[in-house]
């Protein structure tokens, strides 16, 4: 396990280097933000003088060198919009997005596990059909659409939940449902197919033939083995979850990283964009690493060559 872990961690280094290369390429191609910093009615002299003053006329290799050295130290530069260290701004927002992501994941798990198992154990029944249909629908709906509909129905018409913002527990319900639905749909499908596969395996059949009750077989034997894929699925969804948060946060005015990033891109605040991409990438990589470890904890039989 130890050696495996070290190898996994070492693999992260080239991955981060590749990401940094992609990000630099993007930032370089983005050009400079000067024209965005000035109003529409600004004159050419104003633009030129500000560009010179900000040192944006340095040659490419100078900019590149500065970038690599700084990035290695976790310094992505100052956000020109906030005039503050970009990484600290992003890290300030990370908990809000994590909070939303975790609650969404819990929502998705709570929905998906019973639904997936249930529809697998009652294969081809109406329940199965409804569950399958619902999970396909969940995938087939863009989440901004779902979010707006939920607000109209549950906030405006029924006045159960607040419309937007972050604050009390009630505030997180709608964004978490919005973000969690697609994940729940994906998980339901995967759990169902895994369960079906497991139920056809020999030891389950043996248990059944021994005359054990269906429900016991389902939960004690099949479900246990189903946990492993569930954990992996949860980890694999991290990336999708954070991606979905981009849109969900805008709909619900949730002050997380997603909104920060959307605005940074619009304003070409590339320091923030770089820091955001890095922080998200590291978060996803960590989640996958964590999943590997949990995977092993749950099932010690897995060998790491």
């Amino acid at each position: 396990m130890g050696r495996y872990l070290i190898r996994r961690v070492l693999q992260v280094i080239p991955v981060l280097l590749i990401i940094s290369f992609i990000v630099f390429a993007l930032v370089y191609m983005a050009g400079d933000p000067v024209s965005l910093m000035l109003p529409e009615e600004a004159s050419q002299e104003e633009i030129d003088s500000l560009r010179e003053a900000l040192g944006l006329n340095d040659p490419l290799h100078v900019q590149y060198g500065v970038y690599i050295i700084n990035a290695l130290q976790g310094d992505f530069g100052k956000s020109y919009r906030y005039n503050q260290d970009a990484l600290s701004i992003v890290l300030e927002r990370l908990p809000q997005t994590l909070e939303l992501a975790i609650v969404s994941m819990i929502f998705a798990t709570i929905i998906a596990i019973p639904l997936g198992i249930w529809s697998a154990s009652k294969q081809n029944s109406y329940i199965d059909l409804i569950a399958t249909g619902a999970s396909v629908l969940g995938k087939a709906m863009p989440n901004f659409w779902l979010g707006i509909m939920l607000i109209l129905l549950l906030s405006v018409n029924l006045a159960i939940f607040p419309v937007s913002g972050r604050g009390t527990l009630m505030h997180i319900v709608l964004p978490a449902i919005t973000l969690g639905t697609a994940i729940a749909a994906e998980m339901t499908r995967l759990i169902r197919s895994n369960m079906i596969e497991i139920m056809q395996q020999d030891y389950v059949r043996t248990a059944k033939s021994k005359g054990q009750k269906d429900s016991i077989v389902t939960y004690r034997h099949a479900f246990k083995n189903c946990l492993i894929p569930v954990v992996t699925i949860m980890a694999l969804q991290t990336s999708g979850l954070i991606g979905g948060a981009l849109v969900t946060e805008v709909v619900f005015a949730w002050p997380g990283m997603g909104q920060l990033l959307v605005q940074a891109v619009n304003a070409r605040d590339m320091a923030i964009v770089q820091a955001c991409v890095f922080v998200i990438a590291v978060a996803v990589i960590l989640m996958n690493l964590l999943a590997d470890i949990i995977y092993r904890m749950i099932d010690p039989r897995i060998k790491y060559e």
Partner: protein, 310 residues
């Protein structure tokens, strides 16, 4: 973890074998399809959408671009104030909704299909190369794959499209460039197992050159899983396109796409709901059809899922 979904309700392996004895492969496939309710539904939906897209100019009652400021936000025919002239009503500039939904299918499908082709080609080539040659090529490629997987797709799309601006071609290319990793991973995995199979070893031992092995022997064998993933990707792309439109980075008018219509219609949801609902329904139904079809394809094509079944 396996990627196989369950069997289609009502399709057991025995039946499939029976069917596969048919002589004409098209008829065989068609009969196979008819065995599955969801597969048939999916096929009909996808076929309808394709026909709509191809024959849009013949089907659409109006020019989707013809504006009429005096007849804005007219409701569908079955609502009060609706007329049979505009069955699904008109949009915020008085354009015929039905015609726009019909024409929207063109661009939506175009994006879906071509971005998958771009992503698939990149992934296929790199995946085969990595799987076949192994060593540092494989190592490097897998790290690049990890890098892409660590950055959520929509984030990359947001940054790239935000910088370069969005039109049909860039959108297709960027969707392709950000989506190739799943194909590369899949193909690489398949190639790794295939490489050890006897017929490839045999080919190698008689001195067949690498390119021939890759294209004559490996490619056809990878194809079935490839087609399954591609089908499902088209569905995902439709959803992503709509989300990009929401963020202001999707298809730009006057090009008409469902995603764009859905996202601009959201401001009218509480007043003129038909502006967003019809393109939204079009997306949902199409995605539904594609998923059904894709699931069926997976059950039929995936050799592993067949082998494992009794």
């Amino acid at each position: 973890m396996s990627t196989n979904s369950a069997m289609e309700p009502g399709t057991s392996m025995e039946e499939q074998f029976e069917v596969s004895k048919g002589i004409n492969p098209w008829i065989r496939w068609f009969k196979l399809l008819l065995r599955s309710k969801t597969g048939t539904t999916g096929f009909i939906i996808v076929l309808t959408v394709c026909i709509t897209a191809i024959f849009a100019p013949q089907i659409a009652p109006y020019d989707p671009d013809a504006m009429n400021p005096a007849n804005m936000n007219a409701p569908p025919v079955w609502l009060e104030g609706g007329t049979s002239a505009h069955i699904l009503g008109t949009d915020s500039l008085g354009r015929d909704m039905l015609s726009r939904v019909i024409y929207g299918s063109q661009v939506s499908l175009l994006i879906g299909v071509f971005s998958v082709i771009v992503a698939g080609s990149i992934g296929l080539v790199l995946g085969i190369l990595a799987g076949y040659y192994g060593r540092w090529i494989d190592n490097l490629l897998m790290r690049v794959v990890d890098a892409f997987l660590a950055v959520p797709n929509i984030l990359l799309l947001l940054v790239i499209l935000g910088i370069f601006g969005s039109n049909l071609i860039t959108l297709i290319l960027v969707l392709g460039v950000t989506n190739w990793v799943i194909y590369a991973r899949l193909v690489r995995g398949e190639v790794l197992t295939l490489k050890e199979r006897d017929f490839i070893r045999a080919a190698r031992s008689i001195g067949t050159n690498d390119r021939t092995i890759m294209f004559k022997h490996i490619l056809p064998n990878v194809f079935s899983s490839f087609i399954v993933i591609s089908t499902l990707s088209v569905a995902t792309t439709l959803i992503i396109e709509a989300s990009l439109s929401f963020l202001g980075l999707g298809i730009q008018p006057p090009t008409i796409s469902w995603g764009y219509m859905l996202s601009t219609g959201r401001d009218y949801l509480a007043t003129s709901w038909w502006l967003a609902t019809f393109p939204g329904l079009a997306i949902t139904i199409t995605v539904l059809g594609i998923i059904f079809l894709g699931d069926w394809l997976r059950d039929v094509l995936d050799p592993r899922s067949q082998g494992r079944r009794p």
